[in-house]
Subunit: 129 residues, 2 copies
Amino acid sequence: MSETDPSPSPDVRPRLHGELLSTSLLAFLKNWNAYGYQLTQRLAEAGMPECDSGTVYRQLRQLERSGFVSSFWDTSESGPARRMYSLTKAGEIFLTGWIEALQNYQGVLQKALASFDGLARDPGANTKS
Amino acid sequence: MSETDPSPSPDVRPRLHGELLSTSLLAFLKNWNAYGYQLTQRLAEAGMPECDSGTVYRQLRQLERSGFVSSFWDTSESGPARRMYSLTKAGEIFLTGWIEALQNYQGVLQKALASFDGLARDPGANTKS
DNA sequence: GTCGATAGATGCAGATTACACATAGCCGCG
DNA sequence: CGCGGCTATGTGTAATCTGCATCTATCGAC
C-alpha cells in the first residue's frame, strides 16, 4: 500500500503519438487535402495533446516516403508556399486496416477489463482452455 | 494514379505496439495478476499481431519503473521462477486516462472520416472559419 | 545425461521522438 | 523604410524504443 507514491512521477499523462499520430493525419487527409500547418492546428483543436509541429512535418514526409500520401507545392495563395498533401490509394488501404486493428485492440481492452470483474480468483485456474 | 507502387513495400500491415502494448498489459493486469509469459500468450490469443516476448518483458519492467505495476518472484509453482505482476493504483489511474484519450482519438478519427464524406469540395473553402 | 518446454532477460542496430532552433515570405504599423 | 509578428516548413541532436537473435536457468520425461 505504501508504494503508491512514484516519486519520479514519470509522465502520468497519456500521450497520443506514433501510429496514433500518423493515422490521425491519414484520417484527416481522407476526403480533404491539407498542408502541415493546417493539420497541426486541426489536431490540436481535435484534442490531441501536445502535437509538436516538427514531428507532424516529419511524419508527413515519412508517410510520403511510405507511399501513403502524396504532396505538391501550392503557391496559389499568398504567404509562404504550402506543401499540399493528399491521401493515396495505399494510404486508404492502410487506414482501413488500422481501423480494423484498432477495433480489435479495443475489444481486447474491454474483454480484459470485463473478465474476472468481481470474481478475481486463482490466476492459474482460469476458464480458458 | 500510377504512383500506387511503392517499390520498397514498407510494411503495409498495421502494428500495435508502444502505448498500445503497454496499456493492453495494464488492462490484462486489472483484476488479474499474471506473469510475462502468460501475458505474452494472452496477447497473442487476443489477436495482437507480432508480440515479441522480449519487448513484453521489457515493457513490464518499464511499467514497474513507472510505478504502474509491481512485481514479486513467485516460486510456489514448479518450473522456473515467475515474476508475478499486479496493477498499482497509479496504473489504474493511468489506464483510465488512457481509455478516455483513446475514445477521444476514436472520435477524432471518425469525425475526420465522416466530414466531407460525399461532398468533398474545394479544400480552401471549408466551413471552418 | 540429454532433450524440450517454460520463464525471463539482454545486446545491438535501426527507427522514432521531443525539444530547440533555423529559414523564409507576407503583413501591418509608425 | 525598418521592424516585429504570424504563417509555413524544415533540421540537429540526444534520448528513447523496437525487433531480432541469443543467452541463462529450471523442471519433467525418457
